[in-house]
Symmetry: C2
């Protein structure tokens, strides 16, 4: 199996590449070649076919066509805050280059007379409206409140369309906030969720930009990567559940900041209540503090999973050597 | 008011241009300049600023930027059947060129420090699934069953997004089958609906590719054009009704072929029952013969209208001199 990961140098991408290398197979078939694409790969490219460069460039698309992935995990994107600040860049990367990639994947398989490539597309819960409908269900209308979500939704639609045409075998997963990102500027407004985990686990003071009652959807990067791999393998009908077909929100743990802080306190033996000061910012609280219940039953039925418990979430998010319970 | 109509040489476009010329104003303000864009305009360009050429070309976009429309009716598109046969052409025209147009409109207004231009976008009921949910409501999920509808839906989303950003003032109308198109090849699978009207009104035999009971949504080109003009003028809130925001299905008459044939028989004093032979083709019957009830109350509340009666529909569709009842 020839497998491509775009955005492989990113937070979820590096976790996914490591998981694929450890597993050595995807969808029950051994990985013969693993390619990683990103603007910069650094150490993330070790032992892989490293495709460094601009995803939308003709050269990169040609290299991807030559590799002809049978499975593509498409994670590369200008993140939410950066997309909002530069919508033309978001259009170029998050929309145009993504659609170009879909075309190249389909054409490469067609030339080789292979099956339509499986495309696991990292979409986002930002396709839903703001405020979110309560609860969010597969029937909830999508009204993306930011450029990032609008471009992601357009790509979901076009991936479902390519699937209908028999050109690709698409699976769009709507990712929630994924933790714990490295403590470097990421362009993501939701980065505070990760910063909270790092700080409290390390016993550091943290000023939280939302209230203790602020409730969000949480998932660790490792569980996210496991779900992405599962999504490539799962057996789905052409017209399966989801707003636009072939799109599912990932199962999530719905937790308040206070619940996460309690879990951190238990796991890392710190006094979270003392460490965290709350300074809610209305704009952030409105978007990241009022997540309603999510009907994620369709994704659960297909075998996707949340982190299991707040404790497992924070351990899986922070400890690379955390042993999965069997 | 500077007004642009794209697709001005087409069936609905010519009707709309004529209506705008007759009215002389839009949204209560006099039209100072009317521009018509299309690949070929022919006589449709008389008395207008004629912009002939490929909508997606840099030259055309520059000419549109120079004109800086305050209201744009965007009708230009590769039609459904043609888009399905050539999805790459559909992407170029129905998606990429449309998004380029949106950008140019927004930038031209910004340079002149004018209000965000009003964009009335001709979308389609083909954004809904096949089979259609029964009834179709604003909450019905969109699952476009063809390339045409997928690209239209993506553009609806991006127009709503540009509206949210304050760059444009978008209004997407989901058009049903519009009659009566000229009896020339159009690339539209639904062309039989128009051919039926022309044939029976002229007392000619007609072989209908759907059954007498086949039920569809109908609207005359003139009523459609009236609704497009109304949509430019209507006062809508930013977050108004519609699947993706700022998108409404037009109010429709839901009629069976038999009901339309009866109306034609009455208005044109022919024996439609004798003229029409039914030879249902399962593929066409499935897509164009099973239209469910449509909850078009949101559009009606905003003042959009159907043709009123089957008789008014066929007269308005076929007789350019039909006098509107006061």
């Amino acid at each position: 199996m020839r497998v491509l990961v775009t955005g492989a140098g990113g937070f979820i991408g590096t976790t996914l590449v490591r998981l694929l290398q450890e597993a050595g197979h995807v969808a029950g078939r051994p990985i013969q070649a693993l390619a990683a694409a990103d603007m910069q790969l650094g150490s993330a490219g070790a032992g892989l076919l490293a495709l460094e460069g601009d995803l939308g460039s003709a050269e990169m698309l040609q290299r991807i066509a030559d590799f002809a992935p049978q499975v593509c995990f498409h994670l590369a994107a200008v993140p939410g805050g950066a997309a909002e600040a530069d919508p033309l860049l978001s259009r170029r990367v998050n929309l145009d280059a993504t659609l170009d990639l879909f075309q190249v994947l389909a054409e490469a398989a067609k030339v080789r007379q292979e099956r339509p490539p499986v495309v696991v597309y990292a979409s986002t819960i930002a396709v839903y409206g703001s405020p979110l409908p309560d609860p969010v269900t597969p029937a909830s209308p999508t009204r993306p409140p930011m450029t990032y979500g609008a471009h992601k939704l357009a790509c979901e639609i076009m991936l479902a369309e390519s699937t209908r045409r028999g050109l690709l075998d698409g699976r769009s997963l709507r990712l929630p906030g994924i933790v714990a990102r490295p403590r470097v500027p990421s362009g993501l407004v939701s980065a505070f969720m990760s910063d909270l985990l790092h700080a409290v686990a390390a016993g550091e003071q943290f000023t939280c930009p939302v209230s203790a009652q602020a409730t969000a959807w949480w998932m660790s990067a490792r569980r996210c990567a496991q779900n992405l791999v599962h999504a490539a393998a799962m057996d789905v009908a052409l017209d399966s559940q989801g707003q636009v077909g072939r799109a599912w929100p990932l199962p999530v743990l719905r937790l308040s900041i206070a619940e996460v802080v309690q879990a951190l306190s238990r796991v890392y033996d710190v006094d979270g209540a003392q460490l965290v000061r709350y300074s809610p910012q209305p704009g952030i609280e409105a978007v990241f503090g009022r997540y309603p219940a999510l009907d994620d039953s369709a994704a659960r039925l297909l075998g996707m999973r949340d982190d299991g418990s707040p404790e497992a979430l924070v351990r899986r998010a922070l400890d690379p050597r955390y042993e999965e319970p069997q």
